[in-house]
Symmetry: D2
Subunit: 376 residues, 4 copies
């Protein structure tokens, strides 16, 4: 079958690889209809991780069930499904606690597995014609038949639940004010989730005008941090500080236009922009090992965090990758009911064969490549 294969830094190719097979009785094989390119794929693409050549990318996957193993009971051939980017077993201690992003079974020695990602276990990616899905009854979310909402449902694999997870970590409640740093796909999904949860005011901070425009279309107030001090802007809009804050940026944050990476800048701005007793939901990535970091401490994931102010304000911070399985059914139902249309962030849909060019353009932040769907 055809698949997007990592060759070397800044190079992927669409090549023939072996078709996936049922390996365990609880496996299923899925014929992919849509697989999205994710910002985190760029970490591997840029060679900033230890990913070996040959890996097939793709952790935002949906398609039709092609074949099921004899231990699969719920899923059947022809079911239209979407898969969480996390691979999970469903019976380990963390899965039982709904922390499926930290499954203890699928990636021995580590808490958490994923498709097509370095260090996340032996699971090939879905930017391909077919995909093997382990623990298929547990991992698959069944969708309505047909082709409706394809782009919306594709967002259920990662970015919509990840944005929602941020609002869950921050415990966003009806009537509250929320500030979201970052208006990329995850930040916009966090803003959408805050809206769904009944926030009274949503503030979104970024510097890219097209992203801020999308935030405004959602009803959020856009703050361009290159034009104004975001802490002051938030405090003015919220009578001294937002109730809740979301970091959808992570360690590759920049303090301003053209500035170098200053990894803790967003985290520390959140501490100041959020009111005493507030909560922070951090889904922007922070890593324990970053070879490209600006200094030795940052290379080990140690950042200068304003813990003194954080403590004095009695704030709380929740972090980590999303437990997609915990949220995706409810979010699917909102899409079906017409209450959420997360596909608005999709900027382009192309055949699988055009993936290499799309990676290049996405990496260059070219217009129209902020969220690309591949259709094999």
């Amino acid at each position: 079958m055809k698949a997007v294969v990592y060759k070397e830094p800044y190079k992927v190719a669409v090549e023939e690889v072996d078709d996936p097979k049922i390996q365990d009785p609880t496996d299923a094989i899925v014929k992919i209809t849509t697989s999205a390119i994710c910002g985190s794929d760029l970490h591997m693409y840029e060679g900033r991780t230890g990913a070996d050549p040959g890996i097939v990318f793709g952790h935002e996957n949906m398609g039709m069930v092609q074949e099921v193993g004899p231990g699969v009971g719920k899923l059947k051939k022809g079911d239209r499904i979407v898969l969480p980017f996390n691979v999970a077993c469903g019976y380990c201690r963390n899965c039982l606690a709904n922390k499926t992003g930290f499954c203890l079974t699928v990636n021995p020695g580590f808490a958490g597995g994923a498709y097509g990602y370095v260090s996340m276990g032996p699971y090939s990616g879905g930017q391909a014609e077919y995909l093997r899905v382990p623990f298929a009854d547990f991992n698959a979310l069944v969708l309505p038949e047909g082709e409706e909402h394809e782009a919306d449902f594709a967002m259920l694999a990662d970015v919509f639940p990840t944005g929602y997870h941020a609002t869950e970590l921050a415990d966003v409640r009806p009537g509250e004010t929320v500030v979201v740093f970052g208006a990329g796909p995850v930040g916009l999904m966090a803003a959408l989730s805050a809206k769904i949860r009944g926030a009274s005011k949503i503030l979104v901070v970024d510097k890219v005008k097209s992203r801020l425009k999308l935030a405004e279309d959602l009803g959020a107030i856009a703050i361009d941090f290159t034009a104004t001090d975001p802490i002051e802007a938030v405090q003015e809009q919220t009578d001294g500080g937002a109730d809740k804050g979301i970091d959808a940026v992570g360690y590759q944050a920049q303090a301003g236009e053209g500035k170098d990476e200053t990894p803790a800048v967003v985290l520390n701005q959140l501490v100041h922009a959020v009111r005493p007793t507030g909560r922070l939901g951090v889904v922007g990535l922070y890593v324990p090992s970053d070879p490209g970091a600006p200094n030795e401490d940052a290379a080990e994931g140690k950042l200068l965090f304003e813990i003194g102010t954080f403590f004095e304000k009695g704030q709380t911070m929740g972090t980590g990758q999303a437990d997609v399985k915990t949220y995706n059914r409810q979010l699917r139902d909102l899409i079906i009911a017409g209450k959420a249309e997360p596909g608005f962030i999709v900027s382009k849909e192309i055949p699988l064969a055009e993936a290499p060019g799309a990676y290049e353009k996405f990496d260059n932040r070219e217009d129209g490549y902020s969220k690309v769907l591949l259709h094999p």
Copy 2:
């Protein structure tokens, strides 16, 4: 009346000061029967804060109601009461949310007030014969008549609820394993609270043998961090990491015997000692401004926090001073029912007049001065 007055660094005196008076209709005047010396009093005593000479110390106060203002309805003369160290109004937004440690009324421009403490509002301390209590109906917790449990009840002003707050921030649940860094009064109260909440295993890390002995008396497993690596010790005892972790040390942490302060060491050890998806409850103090810090960043409350590992493990951290009012009634009832005896940490009870010597010995960490009660 007599009161403990701060004179200059390393010097307090018992002097005559004006008797407190009813200033507002909702005030009460309390005749103090017990006021405890707290570790945080030493910050002022050592001149490490901006406290001006003349301040009367004492935020762990209990006594008998002597007089009430005309707007006081519940309290009456003769009631035996204990007071949260936080002063709170009961009707601001934070008080309504049970965050009485962050009252927006009592200390304008800041979230939170306290008795006898620099920057915490115009409230004189209770290491004195009498004390003015604002918003008395809200702040006072009524105790059973008599003199029983005096030392236990005195712990309700601060350390018992603060230790309990740590277990609440960490969300300690029945059957879980918990590691507590620090076996001072607050750490021991956190261990006691974890026991009350049904923890299956409690590990306490410190270097002082007498403190570790008290932890063992509670049924906890003691870990001497000068004799063993605490992260490894915890991981061995808990199959890879404790479910929950508590920081009862704060920014004056030391990495080992005789070593300099390394302010983030406990926080970072917790990240490693606690399992993925675990929660940290941080009640050890971190401050946004510390003139005595080992470096410039620390002086501004910025510490090198291992956010990369914290994020990868999907951990959560709650911080801040305790909202005593939220817990003290239930903890009082446990004392009355004989299910908790927090007074076991009290090492000495002396007359008010002996306070100056007690401060000196406590500051020198002399045996028998770890928790001193003053009786005016």
Copy 3:
């Protein structure tokens, strides 16, 4: 001053009564700008309670602060405020637990007090020119200056928080399906609240076409229980049962058009209409003593409840009058932000002097009198 005074069954009059005075230092006097007539006022009006002649009605009150006692610190003359229908002290055990509808102080011997209501304490009602407000700093919610949103804000006294309380008791979460029995003011506010909380589908059951029309305007699906079996209709729309259910009807329920009262019919329909593991939020009134009940058991508040099915389905039920104080600030902020307009249920606004006729028409269920605001 002028006030609406209860004379005898089916008769109220607007009469001169004594002006209210500051009685306690923590009191305030409010000049009423709006007071709403509530369905529960009809219980007294119809003589179905033990209300004595002379009582001044009105528990949904808003206005301007006219005078404050010397123990009032936050409120000041001229503040525009709305008052919860519950009177509460702010410092008793239930108030501290945010159960202000069950205050132990304001109505000795009972849990809970209210303005202008039989058995709810010595608090005169606000269908008058002025109102005395006890514990004013605690009870008053300050509104933006001016006259904007008067009708919306008036709904914060009772029906909007009561509807919201129902969704809180039922723990309505994003993506869920919710069925609301009753499309009177409280049922519509419950539907609005479910929408704010992100429900994917809201079903509203009633028989009055104009009410069902308002539910549809909110985006809900209307079910006319005189035209279809409501249990079947809900199950069809929700794949076997709604996630959550709300009873906004209470003991005066009717099983169908023209039928007698069958007090438990709504409760039992909810049990069947809600899925296993679902939760019921019951804010429709049930009373322990009802002289007008259809049988002896019902007269003592004992109803034939289908506990067998309820238990087999593992359902949960929360009940009771709303703790308005726990929700009204957040709901106010949604109104200010333009995210909620609860005033859409107001059908008529009239001068105080016209109250007697409005009571009569409301009691006869005449068109246009479903929610009347009085302006003194």
Copy 4:
């Protein structure tokens, strides 16, 4: 193999039946070491259900893994395990929400399955030499090797988690007072669970002296409802009402010594014995169809519930069979740590062959047969 087979009302026999076999790849076969007789087995034994002759009893099972299917990954031959009485799939909507007692997969058309129980699916019971376990990786809880704590661990199949579930439904928190109606195995486990959760005072109501003695041994206060009015007794001990209440009796309740069944008596006593805003956890069984009920309404599971008082007090009630899987790991860890010894309720341990006599004596409430373990 040998198994306990239901023959006719009041008669079981130990007979040869077919050995169980792996039917699905995710099955395991367990060699039973202990299976307990449960009070709910008596419902079938007495012919009060529609159970057909031939059914093998036994839903409280533990043993050693004998064989696993090819789709089983975690469990391996020789593992010592205990099984929840509920059979669950692990991937349906209810299982994902930790409501494993209401699995939608294992018993089509109904929410919930169990071993060896009428209407609970095609799962043979474990009062036998071997047992087939579906979805074995999900359902089995692995225990430490050896034979230690056999009786304690056997309680993890049903009664300990069921008692704990009651405290979870009632949300028992540290420092609270709790009343438990019923001192049978489940009631005693609820009292033990309340103790683990830090209750300050536990009151247990029953009429059987030996049961009340066991409650007192746990530190609870025993109330004999044949000697005193239980509502008054609770109110006296708790200053007007317990914070939380537990029904561990169910529909076969009696109002007093020698009286007929009065199915709602315990439920209504709880409403009066628990304070306003309190919560009830109901795990005593109520059924939608009871042929032996004292009247027609009760035969359909409709009981006269004091909803009027329940509502006026703003109480909440949670019900249903326990989701064992949600609690059993933590409870196991408390047993291993020596913090809980639920096996204290076991009154007799006998070989499988003696089961028929044990059923007879248990049904006659003979001394020493209150909780019997069978060892094949």
